[in-house]
Symmetry: C2
Subunit: 224 residues, 2 copies
């Protein structure tokens, strides 16, 4: 599913470059559940956004589902992303002027799903994350953990074969967090591939492979 | 320090009102370290923003440092807040076009602190949260946990006598999280009062009093 070699990503800040990624190799096979841990600033979100085709590496090669991503134009990239990938952002990235329901329907709209089916699927997944009673709230009218769950619902509504989750339980109490991890495990049990960043060792233990990043490098990978 | 009785806060969403707070009593004494826990959506951030004078209750009374807050105009409220309170937001609330340093200097600027001292104090606290090398990054050029630490530095730079922290370790790995809790404990040891919302039982255990919210009410308060 994911075949990345020697990924590099560096930001020029004045004289000192910040090497967010300094040569990361990652092979992910269909149906794997891998977790990524590492200190704050170690490059986890940068790695996830490159794997999710939301950012391009400065060096290295990346094949997604066997295709070279670096060679694609933005439109092809957006189509591959919409069809195969679900992305749960660390900062949620919800449209501020849209309701929970509209935010969750958005990826289905990109994918050309008709209105009635879109609404039903979006309401169903909002119900599964416990937010049926918050469907018409806008993000500013929700709590932190409720926003996070809308972002999770939006990532799952397209039934993605690759789910990329960045700290999906960071703003949730342990009971709500556990129900979200049950949902993610269900997605995994249906044969999909999961790459999940977390600071919580209890969440990381739910995967079958653990990758530890430090200063933009892979320090440990139990599955490679 | 804080004397709140029968606080109510409700949002009108269409026909169904959302009672974020439904009659909360909270007395907090100088030098206490209280933590607040509760399910996602139970009213923790709403309570904290009323205690921090960032939002007004719909009902109930609130005395801060012995003064009735409900009777104050916005300017007096802002002055009381800037002089006494440090607030760590769950969503960080950093100015997007300002650097880490400028964000941390902001409360000192409101307080009329001269430029040179402002800069020194802001750099010192940024160094204490481990971000001296990120002083000139803007929020979009920082990782999630780095943004959270800038928000923490901004709350501490004024040496507040009341620190209100909403999930201060939600985006941090355990090592970084522990160093932030050490910093918060130091603020407490200097005789200041702490009210801290968290989902992490390990963080909650660092306080001497635990308040549990559910559906906008106090279910349990080990200190009252
Ligand atoms: N502006 C608003 N309009 C309507 N409802 C709101 C608004 N702000 C908050 N709410 C609702 O009030 C309830 C309490 O919100 P609050 O942010 O205090 O919860 P919380 O305990 O901090 O949750 P979390 O742990 O998820 O951050 C939530 O159910 C939320 O949907
Ligand atoms: N646009 C940018 N410009 C400059 N530096 C950046 C930019 N984006 C990220 N960085 C830096 O790259 C490093 C890695 O960032 P990244 O967001 O991947 O970390 P992370 O492991 O996700 O951290 P966290 O656990 O705090 O979310 C950080 O030190 C950050 O300051
Ligand atoms: Mg991150
Ligand atoms: Mg909250």
């Amino acid at each position: 599913v994911v075949d990345a070699e020697n990924l590099g990503k560096s930001y020029r800040m004045g004289e000192v470059p910040v090497n967010a990624l300094a040569g990361v190799n990652l092979k992910l096979f269909q149906g794997e559940f891998a977790t990524v841990m590492g200190a704050s600033g170690s490059g986890k979100s940068t790695l996830l956004s490159i794997v999710g085709c939301l950012d391009r590496p400065d060096s290295g090669s990346y094949l997604l589902m066997g295709k070279r991503v670096d060679g694609m134009d933005d439109r092809d990239l957006a189509r591959v992303r919409n069809r195969n990938i679900g992305f749960i952002f660390q900062t949620f990235n919800l449209l501020p002027r849209a309701t929970s329901l509209q935010n969750v329907e958005l990826p289905l709209m990109y994918g050309g799903v008709p209105g009635k089916e879109r609404r039903q699927r979006a309401l169903a997944i909002l119900d599964r994350v416990g937010l049926a009673s918050r469907a018409h709230h806008r993000p500013s009218q929700l709590s932190g953990g409720e926003r996070q769950r809308v972002a999770i619902a939006r990532a799952l509504v397209t039934d993605p074969s690759l789910l990329l989750a960045d700290e999906p339980t960071g703003n949730l109490d342990s009971v709500t967090g556990r129900s979200i991890m049950d949902l993610i495990r269900q997605v995994h049990n249906e044969g999909n591939t999961i790459l999940l960043v977390t600071h919580d060792p209890l969440v990381a233990a739910m995967g079958s492979r653990m990758i530890r990043l430090g200063d933009g490098r892979v320090l440990e990978d139990t599955g490679s």
